[in-house]
Amino acid sequence: MDTILRINVAANGGPKAKAEPVGAYAGMGGRALTSHMIAREVPPLCHALGPENKIVIAPGLLSGTAAGQSGRLSIGCKSPLTGGIKEANAGGQAAQVLARLGYAAVVLEGEAADDQLYLVYINKDGVKIESAAAYKGLGNYELIDRIKERFGDKVACISIGPAGEYRMAAASIACTDMEMHPTRHAGRGGVGAVMGSKGIKVIVIDDAGAAMRQPKDPEKFKAANKAWVEGLKKHPVTGGGLPAYGTNVLTNIINEAGGFPTNNFKTGQFKGASKISGESFAATMTERGGQATHGCHRGCVIQCSGIYNDKNGKFLTKQPEYETVWAHGANCGIDDMDTIAMLDRLDDDYGLDTIEMGATVAVAMDAGLLKFGDAAGAIDLIKEVGKGSPLGRIIGNGAALTAKAFGLERAPVVKGQAMPAYDPRAIMGIGVTYATSPMGADHTAGYAIATNILKVGGFVDPLKPEGQIELSRNLQIATAAIDATGMCLFIAFAVLDQPETFQALLDLLNSFHGLSLTGDDVTALGKSILTAERDFNKAAGFTKEMDRLPSYFKREALDPHKVTFTVSDEELDQVFNW
């Protein structure tokens, strides 16, 4: 991983690729690389769809190695949704394959010279770029079928659907999974629109003949990986709850806590929760011959995903994740699994962020465009997005724009990005992260819960009321660091509860790269990423007043606990005081 592949899409006669040494970005991976490169090379005040913006696609520091769970891909740019810096993260095969070919990053830069679309093919011999005119307007599923016919089913793809071509602010970038379905998405922030603005429809990566990346200290690495995998397997969450039911095991629990946003964040509980719970999905998937336990890339130990078949036993989509089930389910008042699975499929096909789309459909429902619970209407609305009709163009640009278009105050967004599946009034600590993350409302920004092991910012007394400010800060630091490794964030549970598993992670990094990182270095890495991101946003015009939740979260009490968001602005401003 000592090469950066830059593709200048503005070159005469079509995009040109140039490989260069990793240079100033040596030792960086994943979100560390994407955020530092965007902060350094993209003018913060540029238009997100203009020539100065770049898309940086970077595997993590451990991607492409034998380390379990290391296949996450980071995609960074200036976001057309938030106007700030963005790192969106995806599973699938792409990170492993790209890393094995030796690339620390692929960078798309410049402005597409014409209205043409291109295909980029990367293998061990180099890069070929050709017209993708034949693929114009195709959904991700048909596109990948055609790629398979031509390149076989061993390649990995990074692609956009029609939403990316339309440059919609909710457009995602799809990565193919082990079955070569385009089901894993760098979803948030409109990264697909930026790829669309560069005129690149699909990047096909073929690692045939490329070897697994080799560690500096193979013996130590092998031992660390063994301890790592054992740690993940023995933990009740990473070895039990996640494989059995997937992330959607959370539906029942968050609903029970009264923090499950329902009908556009009007209440905290959904009557139909048990019909769409992970337990119910797992039973249905098994009954229909799908799979309730499945990985999104080779080398995933936890396997939180699954395969969802339709009523006839035919593949429809991957097991919808908790956030998707919430967004298209409870938040829209829909309690039908097949509808949610179909919406997930359509989002993946058009290339859309499921969280943003669920939140947006709910806003449209709240505005009276259709009724809460209208399953057929929700499907039709997403199809409008796929068609690119005038209504679809509004919906495809997210919850904030849709609320504005329909004259509605109740847009559950921060920095223009829709909130995920936890109501910040019931779980106020997550509201602190929604408000202050440089990414806009983002649950993964403060996801890594290893903070008291890392001792990031000192040990936090959880019983003190101010704990949630410190915790949110520390969680954001730890998450940024994990995002740099290429590790799936779900490792955090095992790392939290089992110090020896955290040590195994450090040993993996150290033995692979010949380093001697400590917990302090990991903390410093997380802080440096967040600082680069905050500085970019500041230069892009962000002020502390944008680190706030919409005011109705302070005004409207949430049932059943009748709580409002009470963290003060002054407290929120302390999150990044370190």
Partner: protein, 203 residues
Amino acid sequence: MVDSFSNAGGDKLSASGGPSWARLTGLVQEGFALYGLEGQSLRDFMREALGMSDAYIEGAVSTVFLDYKPVDDLDGAVIRPGCLVSLSAAMPGLVGAVMRRNSPYASFREAISHGGHTEQEEAQKDKRCIVRVKLFNAVMREHGPLLLSQGIMLEPDRIAAAIGTPLPDGYSAEHGAPGLVLLRSLAEHGVPGAAGAFGAPRP
């Protein structure tokens, strides 16, 4: 354990819950009723009414709600008539970790956490009362079949909807629990279409 739930007649218990289990998991997630004792601690209710061992409570039931409030102190929280007890294994995600008992991240949910001792002195000690219970995920899978074999109380229309057939004649309200009937997963007791889901009607 209230003795009216003893497993009459030596019916076979099935660790997997028997043939009716798959159709009954929805009911177990959505909630059923059991008898508890007013003023009893939540821990004692889990031991006695639910029949959970101390090791299972400590090791497996990491996430506990009383009336939708995450509970940290199982000995301080007490049973009240009509209260709702919801039980789950350890959950993923930051918010999953936040919800765990005695989570280091409990401050994230301090606005909704259960406050511990609640008017214990006012409770009529040891008076039998109806308690609603929900079991989720691994706790449902591991403990649900056993509980079902011992008997749980449900509204008859919910049972009929779950098994897709009306209740047989002779079913009447559970004594002392108006509107509820006793459901047991007893091996192949010939209720047509019900796959042996019922125990005998309460006398």
